[in-house]
């Protein structure tokens, strides 16, 4: 695995994403849901909302980095607020 140049932070990052995917898969099997329509006017399931959250969070982090006004962990707080908003209203 040395050729993959692993680091602890990137391993934790992928571990967190893997845990999220497994959790949402188990949730989807145990508690199947009917897709709902939110403020984006598109049908979304929990998995869709997770995807929107992860993709949006990546862009929020990049925008935060490009603006460069605060430490990067500030972006994570913003991402958490964004995730809550997505799961509540999208």
């Amino acid at each position: 695995m040395a050729w993959m140049a692993w680091t602890l932070p990137t391993a934790l990052f992928f571990g967190a994403i893997a845990c999220l995917i497994v959790t949402f898969t188990v949730l989807a099997i145990k508690f199947p849901e009917t897709p709902r329509v939110g403020i984006l006017r598109i049908e979304t399931t929990r998995g869709d909302r997770l995807f929107i959250t992860l993709l949006g969070s990546a862009f929020l982090n990049l925008i935060w980095l490009a603006v460069g006004i605060s430490p990067q962990w500030g972006a994570l707080i913003l991402c958490f607020v964004y995730a809550c908003a997505v799961f509540r209203w999208v």
């Binding site: 040395a2 050729w3 993959m4 140049a5 692993w6 680091t7 932070p9 990137t10 990052f13 992928f14 898969t25 989807a28 099997i29 199947p32 849901e33 009917t34 897709p35 598109i42 049908e43 399931t45 995807f51 993709l55 990546a58 862009f59 990049l62 980095l65 490009a66 460069g68 990067q72």
Partner: protein, 290 residues
């Protein structure tokens, strides 16, 4: 109560997931690992955090390549989609000529990308290429290796030649699925040709056209081989699109860290746009009651 989805069916895609893991996920993880480190070779890496991402976001080189890429995709979509629809509307609907035209239209799609680049590289040469020679004889000062406008024009014409068939064939498939009764009803109502197109043909082609736009956007946004063979990204950086710039950075300069950060941002943009297209497609299909 009946379940709306049988999520256990997802386990059937596990074999594909394993294959994709080795062909895409593992390389992607490696790129993420590279993007936060620096190396001077010998597989020795140094942690740099988000430095490469910050550098790339401030880099004129990346933004210029992104601008050229977006312009290229916009131009070819603006040409290929209307042209493809126009060709499809004028194709024979049945009989020998229909099959003949379909096969002929499919031919450019079968040619490998590097061969397309080579064909046009020779075709455009002033000394031995038919296009370049004829333009020179007509008094047109054409040289795609030295003039940025000529290089762009050649690339766009090459892409239109290569890929308009795909849009036309998809649009033709959409047109063929329209029942004859729709046209008969339009005839009874004395609808004009434009009205038939606007209210019958275009709505019925909506689904396939969205697929065509998605395919053409994705392919043009990731274009590499044809411009690499034809212009090599030149003259200067005039046709250096994102993938060409990325390869120059990663393999030419061996800047693995910046190239990894660059490619991840490139990947995110493609992922976002693909998701938007996919969502629109699904929404349209549901609205049509498919």
């Amino acid at each position: 109560m009946e379940k709306t989805l049988n999520n256990k069916a997802w386990f059937l895609v596990l074999p594909v997931l394993i294959l994709v893991a080795f062909s895409a996920v593992v390389p992607l993880m490696t790129v993420v690992n590279y993007s936060v480190q620096d190396t001077f070779g010998n597989n020795v890496f140094y942690w740099v955090g988000l430095e490469w991402f910050a550098d790339m976001l401030q880099s004129d080189r990346m933004w210029n390549a992104l601008g050229r890429q977006a312009l290229f995709s916009a131009i070819i979509l603006a040409i290929e989609v209307p042209l493809g629809i126009f060709v499809a509307l004028n194709m024979p609907k049945k009989g020998f000529w229909s099959s003949f035209v379909l096969v002929t239209m499919a031919l450019p799609l079968l040619i490998p990308f590097n061969v397309v680049g080579t064909i046009w590289q020779i075709f455009g040469r002033v000394d031995i290429g038919l296009l370049g020679y004829v333009l020179a004889k007509l008094g047109v000062d054409y040289n795609y290796t030295a003039d940025a406008f000529d290089a762009w024009a050649t690339l766009i014409v090459m892409d239109v030649w290569h890929w308009t068939s795909l849009v036309a064939l998809l649009a033709f498939a959409g047109l063929q699925s329209i029942p004859e009764a729709y046209y008969q009803a339009a005839k009874i109502d004395q609808a004009s040709r434009w009205a038939v197109f606007r209210y019958i043909e275009l709505p019925k082609m909506q689904g396939v056209l969205l697929i065509a736009i998605l395919l053409r956007f994705m392919d043009s946004f990731m274009i590499y081989t044809e411009p690499f063979v034809l212009t090599g990204g030149g003259p200067g950086n005039a046709t250096t699109f994102l993938s060409i710039d990325l390869v120059k950075m990663a393999i030419g300069q061996f800047d693995l860290g910046p190239a990894a950060a660059f490619s991840l941002m490139y990947f995110l943009v493609i992922l976002l746009i693909s998701w938007v297209f996919y969502t629109v497609m699904i929404t349209v299909e549901k609205a049509e009651g498919k």
